[in-house]
């Protein structure tokens, strides 16, 4: 059992390791790929060891070590930075550290032909620092700063191949859309500061603050306002409707980036933030709880919408991107409806199997030099053994089949909805399970079913050597992560959700049935070709899905019809009024000067006369004192 001081030091080392890596690479190794890789992976190893040591040493749900150092103001105003080590943060930290390590190991192969590798690893290190800093932030301020920094890292990495205009556009889109969400975070910060004078999570979640959270401000209590503000941030960062348009486009970045950032960590930051603020469900008023339920509803809608779009994607990464949006929706549903631990569990398992799926996709892409599923299939992708196994394992986990990891976490959420009697959400969630397995199985079947007329001459595809380890590790994790969680979660969290015996069995059976139905129907359509594609007939629906519910068009309309005219108006205001005022000041001085210059007649007698009068006046004043 490590001492508290040692744990704090370990935490600090874990966090500072990636930023040191970033600094070192930028200073010495931008053009020395081997050195950069060494530094980066070394730092990742240090972080992994640190995070693991810290996590596996926790055996008490009330474990909490917090240390802050005043940065601008002392506590409780909380303009300080520091670390907060409790089971929630350590679990997340561990997930980040593991995935980051595996992704970097994988990138040794994936990025080997890129000449800007040094920069890549530098950016990944920067991102890791930001993500870890966010995870163990003890107060809203550090959370926010690292949240923004994470967004920066995402921008840099999405647009890494900056010679591609599509990548640059995607990076910008991601940054701007999430920035809109960040506005919400900032508002929440301001509200907390002005309302309570404190930003520290420990202080905010203290039971004594319950009354503060219920104080009203303009008709609604603080709990409601701050929740709504944070929801905006979560919707942006975790890609819920209507701010999810950036995530599919973010697939323009290298696949390791997609795996790390847009599957396991950054997009999960929103979910983590919700979990962190989960005390509001306890301390907040009924309206606060209702608002959280509303978010859950929105998230369920997102899950269904994005799942549907995933059905028609031909780019393998986009299938998984929409799948991520959908699964994030599930996590938010879990937390929003009160099952915070279940939501976090899904985050935990999803990180592993989704990262696995992305890295697998990357292996295929790297081998076949194309993102399209049919291209990969034609090139003989199915012949790559390890990736196919990984794809199968990951898909089974995603579809939620026993005993893979996804089964336990998805079921936990479904159980909770069932037990709460929330039939609408429960039904919708089951529908989502069906859709999920439909599109997931579709990928496998399309890979297996190579069109007969086009057999490529079977040139050998090879798997990158560094890719083997991560794929294997993640495949194993996708199998056992659920069990690990069930084993350890009692020492991490207070499990309020009691094990509903019969409910658990019912939901397990029902959800498995749904998943099987989806997979079976998918097989009929894509593998055995015994059923026609349902979307071939429902052309209207098909168009909607292909156009991604016209979301990007909606963005475009809003920007062009609302935002740009508004800025144009402001610019006109600036030019006419502000500039006019400034010019006016100049003009007034000029005309005043010209007026005064008329007094300069050049006639000496006038000058003398004036000075006489002035002196006489002064004399008068002096004499009268």
């Amino acid at each position: 059992m490590l001492s508290e001081a040692t744990q704090i030091q370990l935490g600090i080392v874990t966090i500072l390791s990636p930023i040191t890596s970033f600094a070192l690479i930028v200073a010495f190794a931008l053009r020395r790929p081997t050195l950069a890789k060494l530094i980066s992976l070394g730092a990742a190893t240090v972080s992994l060891i640190g995070a693991s040591t810290l996590l596996w040493g926790v055996n008490d749900p009330d474990f909490r070590i917090a240390a802050s150092w005043a940065w601008l103001l002392k506590e409780p105003a909380g303009l300080s930075i520091g670390i907060l080590l409790d089971p929630l943060s350590l679990v997340m930290l561990w997930v980040v550290a593991v995935i980051a390590w595996l992704v970097q190991w994988y990138s040794l192969s994936y990025m080997e032909e890129d000449e800007r590798q040094g920069k890549f690893f530098a950016f990944i290190s920067l991102f890791c620092f930001a993500m870890m800093g966010f995870t163990i932030a003890p107060n809203l301020l550090q959370s926010f700063m690292c949240w923004e920094l994470v967004g920066l890292g995402s921008y840099l990495l999405i647009g890494f191949w900056n010679h591609l205009p599509s990548a640059a556009t995607a990076a910008r889109k991601a940054f701007v859309v999430t920035r809109l969400g960040d506005l919400g975070f900032f508002v929440a910060l301001l509200l907390a500061w002005s309302g309570f004078g404190a930003l520290d999570f420990g202080l905010l979640s203290d039971s004594g603050m319950a009354s503060s959270w219920k104080t009203t401000l303009a008709g609604y209590d603080y709990g409601v306002w701050i929740s709504l503000a944070l929801f905006l941030a979560v919707i942006g960062k975790s890609a819920q409707f209507p701010l999810y348009g950036w995530l599919p486009d973010a697939m323009e970045g290298p696949t390791p980036v997609s795996a790390l950032i847009h599957a396991a960590t950054m997009v999960a930051a929103g979910v983590y933030l919700l979990a962190r603020m989960g005390f509001l469900l306890v301390l907040g008023s009924e309206s606060t709880v209702a608002v959280w339920r509303g978010l859950a509803g929105l998230a369920m809608l997102t899950a269904l919408m994005s799942g549907a779009v995933a059905i028609v994607q031909s780019d393998i990464k986009r299938v998984f991107a929409y799948s991520t949006i959908s699964q994030l929706g599930y996590m938010v549903v879990g937390i929003g409806s009160g099952a915070v631990v279940a939501g976090m569990m899904h985050l935990f398992t999803h990180a592993f199997f989704k990262a696995l799926l992305f890295l697998t996709a990357g292996a295929f892409i790297h081998a076949a030099h194309s993102n399209s599923i049919t291209d990969i299939a034609r090139a003989g992708g199915a012949k790559l053994k390890l990736p196919m196994i990984a794809l199968t394992v990951g898909s089974l986990a995603l579809m939620g089949f026993f005993p893979f990891a996804g089964f336990y976490s998805k079921d936990a959420i479904l159980e909770h909805l069932f037990a709460e009697g929330d039939w609408i959400l429960f039904g919708a969630a089951l529908l989502g399970v069906l859709i999920t397995s439909y599109y997931t199985a579709r990928v496998i079947f399309l890979m297996l079913k190579v069109p007969e007329d086009k057999h490529e001459h079977g040139h050998h595809l090879h798997l990158g050597s560094w890719m083997k380890l991560p794929l294997t590790v993640l495949a194993v994790a996708s199998l056992v992560a659920g069990n690990i969680w069930l084993l350890k979660s009692h020492s991490w969290f207070h499990i309020h959700e009691a094990e509903h015996g019969s409910a658990a069995l019912i939901t397990a059976i029902v959800s498995t049935l749904c998943a099987l139905t989806g997979a079976y129907y998918s097989a009929r359509v894509f593998y055995w070709k015994s059923s026609p594609d349902p979307l071939a007939t429902m052309t209207g629906v098909a168009t909607l899905l292909r156009e991604k519910w016209y979301l990007d068009e909606a963005y475009s309309v809003i920007v062009h019809k609302v935002y740009l005219p508004f800025t144009a108006m402001l610019q006109r205001f600036e030019l006419t009024i502000v500039k006019g005022a400034l010019d006016g000041v100049g003009k007034v001085s000029m005309s005043t000067a010209r007026m005064l210059a008329r007094a300069m007649t050049g006639e000496v007698q006038q000058y003398v006369g004036v000075s006489f009068v002035v002196v006489a006046a002064v004399l008068l004043i002096i004499l009268n004192r």
Partner: protein, 180 residues
């Protein structure tokens, strides 16, 4: 005796002053100035300034007023021309004079009661001693100043070198009717 000198001096000074500023003919003005200076010298005597009175006559009257008359002699006869009166300028002059008059009179009339002039007038020896002890610095400086003034006057008033004269001739308006 003192009163008599005072009256004479006052009348002469004021009369001369009036003539000096009113007269159209500058010669008359110069005469007026001379009269004022003489009257002032007269005024100095009753208050123990005999030495200064003499110096006033010698230097002021004898040098300054005379040099003014020289210049007037050497210039064209302006007084022969009829000049248009500028009413506005006259008004301005009157106003300025009146404005300046107010505080000056106020100060003059507010001067405290004079001590009796029982003490003896300063003697020339006293003045001489003061010039060479207490006031030796200004005394020496004024000689420097006079030298500089002479040199400066020569520099300002001398003819320009040949080339600059040609340049000047182009810029200067043609000789026309001079006016006062």
């Amino acid at each position: 005796m003192n009163d008599f000198l005072f009256i004479v001096g006052l009348l002469t000074a004021l009369g001369g002053g009036l003539l000096a500023v009113i007269a159209r003919n500058l010669f008359h003005a110069a005469i007026g100035l001379a009269a004022t200076l003489a009257g002032t010298a007269c005024l100095f005597v009753p208050i123990g300034g005999e030495f200064v009175a003499v110096i006033q006559v010698l230097v002021y009257l004898g040098a300054v007023a005379v040099s003014i008359v020289f210049i007037l002699m050497l210039s064209p006869p302006f007084y022969l021309k009829r000049v248009h009166r500028n009413a506005l300028k006259l008004l301005g002059a009157v106003i300025v004079t009146l404005v300046v008059a107010v505080p000056l009179f106020a100060a003059a009339l507010a001067a405290g009661p004079a001590k009796g002039s029982t003490a003896a007038a300063p003697t020339v020896q006293q003045i001489g001693r003061a010039l060479l002890t207490e006031f030796v610095f200004p005394f020496e400086i004024i000689s420097v100043l006079l030298t500089v003034a002479i040199i400066g006057a020569i520099v300002i008033a001398r003819d320009l070198p040949e080339d600059e004269q040609a340049v000047l001739a182009e810029k200067v308006p043609a000789v026309k009717e001079v006016d006062a």
